[in-house]
Symmetry: C2
DNA sequence: CCTTCCTCCTGCATCCAGTGCAAAGATGCA
DNA sequence: TGCATCTTTGCACTGGATGCAGGAGGAAGG
């Protein structure tokens, strides 16, 4: 599990970075659909053919950085404190991510991160390809939940629900931010929404999908790590 | 909102049908990726260019029939009996669909429907494009839930959860059927899974995602409102 | 029946994403 | 230095998708 870093591996990694950076820079500047891979390749000073050796599709130029995060949720569940409920671990991780303005929560003031997020949501082919990564994330999370002792059916359904909900929350946050709010302004509401969402996951919408907020879980045991 | 059916409209509709049917027939026979649109066009006896006038992409040749169903869930909620809980309406609709072996539940013995379902799930570009239709379904269902009086946040999250869960259930059913089970054999388990899923939606996974089935909801209070 | 108009169909040229192949170049190693 | 291996590259090709201009065939009016 180690890198025998020879000249080859080094240059490869560097080339890969250069290509991805160049691509994202161009895409952010002119729009994903307005830039051809030929243009990316030329700007990154590699041949078209080489670019495709590193990134199987144009979309992957943007999204492969999500590949690392695709099993994030599963990892959180696996590395949770002994005895802690998986959902609780995921909830805390989300709140922590919001606190740190993790770009994946949609809650960040970094203009480039916002633009990046917006580009993905606003580009059909990217949004679509992103769900592919998400669905692999579902598989991973479901597996982790089974390891945690969940019934396979429940594990799968819960995994799907958690990830779709996290995605929706991120989209909502991003929407508010592009509407002019700052991350700081949005943060309290983002936290409320996240807690509400996990309440729904834990306790359901009840018999009334319309219901008022269920008993607000005012104080949460503060568990960093 | 009416069709002034002249010869033109008639032929157009017929052509559209012919193209879609031809395409699906060819795709089922040889696989989606193994058939080019050129071949579809030739077989349907229209020009390539005409085909693209009817269907914007190759995927739409297969998926546009889902466009009608994309707001199905929203319709169910809107047309539910007065006083019924939206989730309850969706639950009943799903059980009814299972009973009728609705192909969309993945539970059908019709070989063509099974093959169709399998082709979509087994073809990257189709599976991915399908989620696009699903996400429009989320928008519609969320809107319907808001109309039903739900808090906007809850509406959106619930809508996303319901549809993702229905999709997962359908995939599970389809998996069992392709493994050799008949729809009749699978049905009881499919019903159990569906009820379990709606229990999760209504009452949550509880504090233990691992828990044994929560108190079996023998009878549902029929009238919370 | 003929003419005019309009719409839809068609072929062609073109762009772009993605792949196979074989030659040329760089690197690691003896 | 020389050999084996892996990268890079150019080229040709497939297949999806679009723009354009001309043609065919319904629709409408005389």
């Amino acid at each position: 599990m180690n890198e025998p870093v020879g000249l080859r591996e080094l240059k490869k990694e560097r080339t890969r970075e250069t290509i991805a950076e160049t691509a994202i820079r161009l895409f952010l500047a002119k729009g994903f659909d307005q830039v051809s891979v030929t243009e990316v390749a030329a700007t990154a000073e590699v041949s078209r053919r080489t670019l495709f050796a590193y990134f199987p599709t144009k979309e992957d130029l943007v999204l492969q950085r999500f590949a690392d995060h695709e099993s994030e949720a599963a990892r959180i569940v696996r590395s949770r404190p002994a005895g802690q409920d998986p959902l609780e671990a995921l909830r805390e991780a989300l709140l922590a991510a919001l606190e740190q303005r993790d770009p994946n929560t949609g809650l960040t003031d970094d203009p480039e991160a916002k633009a990046f997020f917006g580009m993905i949501l606003g580009t059909e082919s990217l949004a679509v390809r992103l769900t592919r990564y998400a669905s692999r994330g579902i598989d991973a999370l479901a597996e982790a939940l089974r390891e945690a002792g969940a019934d396979p059916l429940v594990a799968r359904l819960t995994a799907a629900q958690v990830l779709v909900v996290q995605h929706e929350l991120a989209v909502m946050n991003h929407t508010c931010l592009t509407a002019g709010e700052s991350a700081g302004e949005r943060h309290p509401e983002a936290v409320r929404a996240a807690e509400r969402a996990f309440d729904l996951l834990s306790h359901g919408v009840g018999d009334k999908a319309s219901g008022a907020p269920p008993a607000p879980r005012s104080e949460q045991v503060p568990r960093p790590q």
